[in-house]
Subunit: 370 residues, 4 copies
C-alpha cells in the first residue's frame, strides 16, 4: 500500500485510473513565486498525446489540464498544486470480459493478486500508461523551475527502435531534429527506418521496443546526496515508475563492463572559462553519486508494447484453465516515441527535488518574470 509519491522536498503524489474520472497529481513543495499557467503544462501534455500519426493509437484524448490549487494571480503560492486531466467516457466492456484472464506482459495478474481482486481492471486501471499524464504535469512544473532558476535543460530522444539505431551525434545536432519526426529521433535517416519498422510491426499485429537517451545540460555540480539518494538512485527510481522500462544506465553504462580503467576514467582539465571539465564523459556527469558539472547522460530500455494483435496463452483465474486471449487492437505498436516526454518529465522532477535539497532553489523565487 502507498507508494504513489516521489520526492522528499518537491514531492509529487499521483492519483487516478485509466478509465476512472481523471488522472492527476498533487505537487507539494513547489516554491512560491513561479509564474505558472495551464498552458505551461498543456504544452508538455500535448507531446505525450496519442493520435498524432499513423504509428500511434488513434484514440482521441484531448487531455486538457486543469489546475485546482496552489496557483494564484498567475504565480505559485507555495501551497500544494493539484492539477488533473478529466478522462473521457470510454467503453470498458472489453476489460470486464477479460477480467479473469490476465493479459501477458501487463500488470493484470500481479494487480489481481496484490489487491485481492479489488483493483480497477478497466484499461489497466492504475497500471495503465495513462498515469504518466500525472508525471508530465509534475514534470512540466519542474522543468520550468529548473530552466528559470538554474538554466537546466533536459532533452530526451529515441536512439533505438528494435534493431534500428541512431548514429552518434552531438546534442546540438540532435536538438533541432527531435520534433521533426514521428519517433523523436535525432538522426533523420534512422528515424525514417524506425517509422517503417513500426508500421511493419503494426501490420504483423506485433509490437517493438527501443531505447531512449536523455541529456540534462547545465546541471550544477554538487547535486545528489550520498549514500542512497544519489543522482543515479533517485533518477533510476523515478524512471522505473514509467510503465515498460526494463533498464537504466548512466554514461558508458553496460559498456563500462568491457572497458579498461585507463579508458573509462574521465581525466580532468581546466577549460577556457576557468571551470574544471573532463576530457570524456564516461561517467555520464556523475561521480560518487554527485554531479560534476558535465552533461548528465542516461539511457532507458523500453520493452515492446504488451498489447499485441496476436493470440496469446493465459490462465482463467476462476477455472484455473489455460485459455487464449486476443489483445484489443488500438494500442501503439511502439510506445517509445510517446515515452520520450515522459522520461524528460520524471528526470525533471527528480532533479528538482535534489536541487531543492541542495539549497539551490529557495522557497520564494524572485525572478523578474517569476
Amino acid at each position: 500500500m502507498d507508494g504513489n509519491s516521489f520526492g522528499k522536498f518537491f514531492r509529487i503524489t499521483t492519483f487516478g485510473e485509466s478509465h476512472g474520472k481523471c488522472v492527476g497529481v498533487v505537487v507539494d513543495g513547489c516554491p512560491a513565486g513561479l509564474a505558472l499557467k495551464e498552458e505551461d503544462i498543456q504544452k508538455e501534455l500535448d507531446k505525450r498525446r496519442p493520435g498524432q500519426s499513423g504509428i500511434s493509437t488513434p484514440r482521441k484524448e484531448s487531455d486538457l489540464v486543469q489546475i485546482l490549487s496552489g496557483v494564484f494571480n498567475g504565480y505559485t503560492t507555495g501551497a500544494p498544486i493539484c492539477a488533473l486531466v478529466w478522462n473521457k467516457d470510454v467503453d470498458s466492456s472489453f476489460y470486464t470480459r477479460i477480467r479473469f484472464t490476465p493479459r501477458p506482459g501487463h500488470a493484470d495478474y500481479t494487480a489481481f493478486v496484490k489487491y485481492g481482486g479489488f483493483s480497477d481492471y478497466r484499461g489497466g486501471g492504475r497500471f495503465s500508461g495513462r498515469i504518466t499524464v500525472s508525471f508530465v504535469i509534475a514534470g512540466a512544473i519542474a522543468k520550468k523551475l529548473l530552466r528559470k532558476v538554474l538554466g537546466v535543460e533536459i532533452l530526451a530522444y529515441t536512439v533505438q527502435i528494435g534493431d534500428i539505431k541512431a548514429k552518434d551525434m552531438s546534442i546540438e545536432e540532435i536538438k533541432g531534429q527531435i520534433e521533426n519526426n514521428l519517433v523523436r529521433c535525432g538522426d533523420p535517416e534512422a528515424a525514417k527506418k524506425m517509422v517503417e519498422l513500426i508500421e511493419k510491426v503494426k501490420e504483423e499485429g506485433d509490437s517493438v521496443g527501443g531505447i531512449i537517451e536523455c541529456i540534462a545540460l547545465n546541471v550544477p555540480p554538487g547535486l545528489g546526496e550520498p549514500v542512497f539518494d544519489t543522482v543515479e538512485g533517485e533518477l533510476a527510481k523515478a524512471i522505473f515508475a514509467v510503465p515498460g522500462v526494463k533498464g537504466v544506465e548512466f554514461g558508458a553504462g553496460f559498456k563500462a563492463a568491457v572497458m579498461r580503467g585507463s579508458e573509462h576514467n574521465d581525466q580532468f582539465y581546466v577549460a577556457e572559462d576557468g571551470n574544471i571539465k573532463t576530457f570524456n564523459n564516461n561517467s555520464g556527469g556523475i561521480l560518487g553519486g554527485i554531479t560534476n558539472g558535465e552533461p548528465l547522460v542516461l539511457r532507458v530500455a523500453i520493452k515492446p508494447t504488451a498489447t499485441i494483435g496476436k493470440p496469446q496463452k493465459t490462465v482463467d483465474l476462476k477455472t484455473k484453465k489455460t485459455v487464449e486471449i486476443l489483445g484489443k487492437g488500438r494500442h501503439d505498436p511502439c510506445i517509445v516515441p510517446r515515452a520520450v516526454p515522459v522520461i524528460e518529465s520524471v528526470i525533471a522532477f527528480a532533479l528538482t527535488d535534489l536541487a531543492i535539497r541542495m539549497g539551490l532553489i529557495n522557497q520564494v523565487i524572485k525572478l523578474k518574470d517569476g
Copy 2:
C-alpha cells in the same frame, strides 16, 4: 545533506569513513524474535573481505563485526540494531598529499565541491568502497529474515569480466560453482579466463569492469508498491548506492529493445502444483512493478576500478593548473568479485523492506528457532 538511509520500514542508516574510526549501520525496523549472532553477519562480511587471492588487494582487513544494540539473549528485540566494524589504523599520508588533485574516476572532485573542502578525503572517506561494509551488515540481517520467514534465497554471481562472458546456465548449475572460483562465476571455464584477464590487466597497471547477475528465488507474488515504490525502483536505488555501478536491468533488460511483443511477453500457464507460472521470464519476475512469483532476475554493470597504476591528468584545485597523478597501487584491478556479496546484500534489505510493507513479515517473528 542527509541521504545515508534506505528503506521505509526496514530502515538502515549508514555511517563511517574509510580511514575513520569505523564503518557501521543502524537497522531500524527489524522485527523482534529473530535469532541473531555476530557470526551470522561475520560470515557475509568475510565474503567481501579483500586479500583473498592474488587478484584482489592484499590489504589485511580482518573486519570483525560488533553488535552494539538491539539484540538481547540471542534474539532481536525490535529495538534498532547498531553494528559496526572498527577500522585498523592506516597510513593516510598519500591522501593528504593528493588532497587538492582529484583522482579521475573517483568522487574526490565532487566531494570537494559539495562539501566545500571539509569532506574526509582519506582513502576516499565516505565515498570509499569500504562503506559497503555497512550494506553487508544490514544485508546479512535481511537475508536471514527473508530466508527464515519467507524462504527467499538471493544469489549473485559474475556473468562478465571485460569481454569474457559466462555461458548461459540454469541457476541450479550456477549455485554450486559460485564460491569455487576467485571471480564468483557460475561457469568454471569462463572463470578461468576471467582470472587470467584480471591478472593481465593488473600487470598492465590497469583495471577492468564486469557484469553481475542476481536471482532471488521464492519471492512471493505481490511484492512492490505502485507507482514509485516498484520492485525495480526500490532495488535500482539500493544498487546504485554501490560504488562503481553504471547500469541496472531487469529480466530481458536492454535486450527488450530489440524484441517483438510476441516474443517478450511471458505467457501464463498453470503449473502442476496449481500455481500460475509463465513460460519464459523476460519480465524478470516483475509486472507493473510487482513480483509475479517467478524468479526475480537482474543484472548490474560495474565500471573498471578507478584507481590504476598509470599516470592520469587532473587539475590542482589550488593552482588551477593541469597536473599528472599516479594511483596508489594496492587496489583491486577488478572489484566485480568483491561486489557480488554487496549486490546480494542491497537486494536483501530492499526486498525485506517491501516484504514488511506488504505485511508478509510481522513485528514479532515466531519461529521455533527464531
Copy 3:
C-alpha cells in the same frame, strides 16, 4: 516548503484554499476491499458544516464531497483515493482590501513573510479553517476502517467553553448527549450555559475558546512506535494541524505535575475476561508511547476565534504604519463545536497509520460487507 502530508503508511496529502476552486485530499495507502461511498464521507462532513444554528456562522456551505479515484464498484481498490469538495464562488474583495494589513491572531502576517507575498490571502487561503474539510474526508475513511477492522470507536466532545466546564461523566453517559446540543457537550446543563456564553460573546463582538476531550475505545494494545513515532507524538502532530489548537495533553495531562507517583501510577489487575487492565487511567491508555488497551484519552485546548467584531491594531506592511482593522463579521464566535468532528478525524487517520504500521490492518480487507 512541503509539509501538507501526514502518515507513513496511511498517507494523506491535502490541497486547496478557502476561496480557491476546491479543498481536497489524496489518501494513499488505504487497503483494498473497504466498502466506501460518498455518503460515508458526507455524513462526517455535514458535522463540521457551519450554519447549523445561531451560534455558528450563517455561511451556506453545502460541501458535497466527490470521490475522484481509488474506489471502484463500491470498494476501495488499493489505489490512492482523491476526494474533494468544490468551493462556492464567494466575494473576496474584503481580503484584497486588507491584503497588506495582517489580522491579529491569523496567519496573514506569517504567510506573507514565508511566501514573499505570493500566498493566496483570500479568506485566509491555505491557512483557513476550511482546509479541515480535507481532514474530515480522510478521517471519515479512517474511521470506517478502524471501526470495521478493529472495532475502534473515536468520540470527541466539548468539555469546556470559556470558564464553563462540563461535569465529570462516564463515556457511556456522554455518548448519547453529544449530538443533542449545539456545542457537542456531554453535559446538557453545561451545554446550555455554554450556548448562552457564546451568544453573549457574539453580541459583544468577541469570541471565546474551549477544550475538547477525545476518547478512543477498543484500541488494541501495542499501537505506537518508540522512540519518536509514539502514540502521543503522532497524535499531537496531527492535532496541531487543526487551526486554533494551543495545547494537547494525554490522560492526567498537566494535572500530572501536581500528582504523586503513588497516585498517578495506574496499577494493574486481571479483569474478569482475563485481560490485563489498570485500576485508573491517568496514563490515558499509553505507556512508553504504546497503547496498553485502556481507553485512549486526550484533551485539546482551542483558542478563541481570531476574527472578532472589535477594532484591533495592526501594521500596514507597505507603509509600515500602525493602523486599525475591523474583522469581517460572519465568523463563528466559538469554533470549538465545529472543531469536535475535526479532532475526531485527525485522531482517526493518525491511529489508522499506526495500526497499519503495526500490521493490524492488511493490504486487502476481507469482510463480508467490505
Copy 4:
C-alpha cells in the same frame, strides 16, 4: 517497528538500551564546516547526568561521549555523525526477577505485549530515561548550529514542581538563575521550596511531577511548514519522545480556552528597529504553524517518576495472578530538573530541521571559526 528517527533533513536516528553496551545516535544531514569537538557535546551531557545532588539518583554515570564518524580535523564533514556513550556494567538481576511483573507507570507491560517478550527489560531497556542521552548528543550539535548560524538561543527551566510554582519573571531575570539551583528554576525562592518538596517526597518513598517552560529567542520568522509540519506539530512530536511527558502547550496554551479573542489576539506594531512586533505573545511566537519572530514559548507537563518506594499492585504475566511489587530505590524522586536539558535538546534538533528545510542553513557553513 522502526520509529527511532526524527527529522526530515537534520535526521537523527537513536539506538541503545539502558543496560546494553551503549546509547548513541547518528545525525544525518548536519552541514559541513561546523567546528565540533567532543567537549561541545560533553558540556550538555553533563547537565543531564544524575548524582549531582541529594535530590537526584546517586548512580555514577560518567557518560563520556565519543564521536565515531562525520567529524574530521575538528569540523563536520557533511557525512553522518555517529556519537555514543558507553554504558557501565550494572547489575541487572533485579530486572530479571521482575521480568514478568510489569511495573506500574513504566513501559514494561506495553513493551512485553508489543515485542512478544523479546524486548530488553533490563533497566527499562529501550524505554529507559537513559535513551535521552541520544537526544542530548544530537541536541548539542543542533544548538551549536542554531547559535552559530542564526543566533538562536534555547532556554528551558522548571516553572512548577508538584504544587510549587515559580513566580512570573522575564526571561532576562530567569536566565541568570537556572543553573544556580538544583531544580533549574528561575525563581530562587520557589526553587528552595521545590527542593524541600522533593526531599519530603523522597522520604515518603514517593515521587512528584512538574512543568518545564522553554523559550527560544531570536527564532527567525517564517519557520514551520503548513499544514502538518507546523512548528507546534514538529516540536510536540519531539517533546513527546521524552519519557514522562503528558502534555505540551504553546503560548497561552490551555489558558486560551478561557480567554476572549479580544484578549488573546496579539496585536501588531512597528518596533523602533523597524521590525514588526506584537504587544503580547499569547500565540507563543507562532501563527498558522509558522514563527512570527517573537520568542517561541512552550510548556511541558512531566509526570511523577514511575519508580517509587511503595508497594504497588501488578499482574504476573505468567500466572495471571495479581501480585505486589516494590520499586528499586535508587531513582530520582523528581525527573523534572534532569529533563530540562533534554527538553532544550529536542527543541534544538526539531528547530534545526525546520531551519534547514526553510533554507536558512546551507549545506556548507562558512564561518570564521566554523
